[in-house]
Symmetry: C2
Subunit: 349 residues, 2 copies
């Protein structure tokens, strides 16, 4: 990692900001001692928090602003009126080359709108998407879009497939990641027009990607493919349904173990093993959704996360910066455009 | 329960038919000793299986046919060429008043197409939907549509809300079930045009239903509402994502307990409690999706289920027949139509 890696933080974004932002940066600094943090936000609130953590002040600069984007702000009004907000100034730091990535736990819609406006999409991509890692029975997969784009036509879905593929290759380090299109059945005739047409385009294109075909909802956790492609409406609901189901299962397990003496004793003995599993599915471990398709690295942390979750989101941003994700995706899209083998309809660039 | 309650069974539908159909009926007969079963299918295969179960022959009649609908058949061709199929004859038995409900583990698309053609939708409903019970942290909820309708406009979503409400009231026995519309956020401005418009219609109508508003994916397992309304694309993917997540969690738990001596010992001691929880989330317990909105009770069993799962699907059909679900839904829709308070735009009937 470069000694100069600087991360811009929206110090005021999130339900428990600025405390979890500062504490998250402190945790991230333990894992990445060479990182530098730019805190964008109210100095009077941020400085005392930084000063409390030994060593953090040396790695931090504060960029004072009073303005904040709230969760109630519409993306359009945040865009118009939030030019001096902590969120916008943190994004601008990436645009202006002063930081390698920006992390915010604030309003997702506003972050997407501002990032798209300030950073622009890379050539060949019409709309940025939200992507995230997910745990599966076979390891980890990437899924996109998780909520940035409610309606997606076939061309947009194909662009998501390309971005997801590059992500899996560059950041996850997979040689030939497989791509699946989320649908209500695996047969060709299943689904809405958008997914049927996108599958056609992916199947018959000469894009150098491994298109597995349609997958169903249970294939996500199964790990059937490395990259799950879907529209933002379905993707957001699937992700949150999975989160809710984990809570349900954990709740049922807790109740079952509590309600009998054997359950209680067994739990006490198996506790370290159960704790280990809990860690494995801890949503904080997977905190940090990536806004892909932009000329810059933007990571969205869950609004309600704690310091550990925020530190993981910072880790995602550092990971992507270290792997030069933006340049890799640009190169790949350029390569597809230049590839004489690429079907003109499906190249989408 | 009426002594005359007869259930029509598609003996040839499902991955393990006719064995699981006959064994499922035998299990159901233990719970409902007064039920009678019509087996539609190949007598040479079905009869020996029935004769193996003491007492089942007395409660069963076989309606021989050689034709079957396969999983590969398109709904349209099943409709044209499957008039003598076991699935179709079982549906016709309900249409002709010879049976109170039909249960099939066969091809969902074909079952929906044939049932819609033979039974027709009730007045006021344009399209039937697939509904099912789901376990939640607060008990049980109903969710629809789970895959019958890929594209749904606002009017269709409102009809689903009405059917779900009647279902929760008549079959689950809830006095004032709450209705939630699945979306990617709870704010009014979130979501696609269909859900925004449906929410407007439900919010401003005089329909006598408890509209909670938008819910998110994690609210399904949370049990935030009694009835979850969504289009068939999203609903199918959400349901299967939840099923996949349960498997993931169970797999992680198993692995964690296996990989340490304390985990193994703890598991042995807590086994009865863990088994109890496993039963609680056993998908067979929730087997039996209901095709609502038709002039007749049609239950779709999971194609890969076993005898216990199929018996549960039969139980769902008997439950609905006993509660006079079809007449109740017709009455409710009629009442809404006649209600002078009902907003004409939102009455949807």
């Amino acid at each position: 990692m470069s000694a100069q890696l600087t991360i811009a933080l929206d110090a005021m974004g999130g339900d428990h900001a600025p405390a979890i932002v500062v504490e998250g940066a402190a945790l991230a600094l333990e894992r990445f001692p060479d990182a530098r943090f730019q805190f964008h936000g109210a100095e009077s609130q941020v400085k005392p928090l930084i000063d409390r953590v030994p060593g953090l002040a040396r790695a931090a600069t504060i960029h004072h602003t009073e303005a904040v984007v709230t969760n109630e702000d519409k993306p359009s009004s945040a865009l118009r009126q939030g030019r001096q907000s902590s969120m916008r100034l943190a994004i601008d730091a990436v645009r202006d080359g002063h930081a390698s990535a920006v992390i915010s736990a604030g309003n997702t819609g506003a972050l997407m709108a501002m990032a798209k406006f300030a950073l622009r999409t890379v050539p060949g991509i019409d709309r940025p998407a939200i992507a995230s890692y997910l745990p599966t029975l076979r390891g980890e997969s990437v899924m996109l879009d998780l909520g940035a784009n409610v309606d997606c036509d076939a061309k947009i879905l194909v662009q998501f497939a390309v971005m997801g593929e590059v992500f899996a290759r560059t950041v996850l380090g997979l040689a030939k990641p497989t791509i699946g299109l989320l649908n209500i059945g695996i047969e060709e005739l299943k689904g809405n027009e958008q997914v049927k047409q996108a599958a056609q385009m992916l199947r018959h294109s000469n894009l150098p990607i491994q298109f597995h075909g349609f997958i169903e909802g249970d294939d996500i956790a199964e790990g059937t493919v490395d990259v799950v492609v879907t529209d933002g409406f379905t993707g957001n609901i699937a992700l949150k349904t999975a989160e809710g189901t984990v809570k349900l299962f954990a709740g049922f397990l807790r109740e079952a173990l509590k309600n009998s003496v054997r359950g209680q004793i067994g739990y006490l003995i198996a506790k370290p093993a159960i704790e280990k599993m809990r860690e494995r599915i801890d949503p904080r471990r997977y905190n940090g959704a990536i806004l892909v398709g932009l000329n810059g690295i933007v990571v969205k942390s869950h609004g309600g996360t704690d310091a550990l979750g925020f530190a993981n989101a910072i880790g995602v941003g550092i990971d992507m910066a270290v792997h030069g994700f933006v340049d890799r995706i640009k190169d790949e899209l350029e390569r597809l455009k230049l590839d004489p083998q690429a079907d003109s309809q499906a190249a989408v660039v």
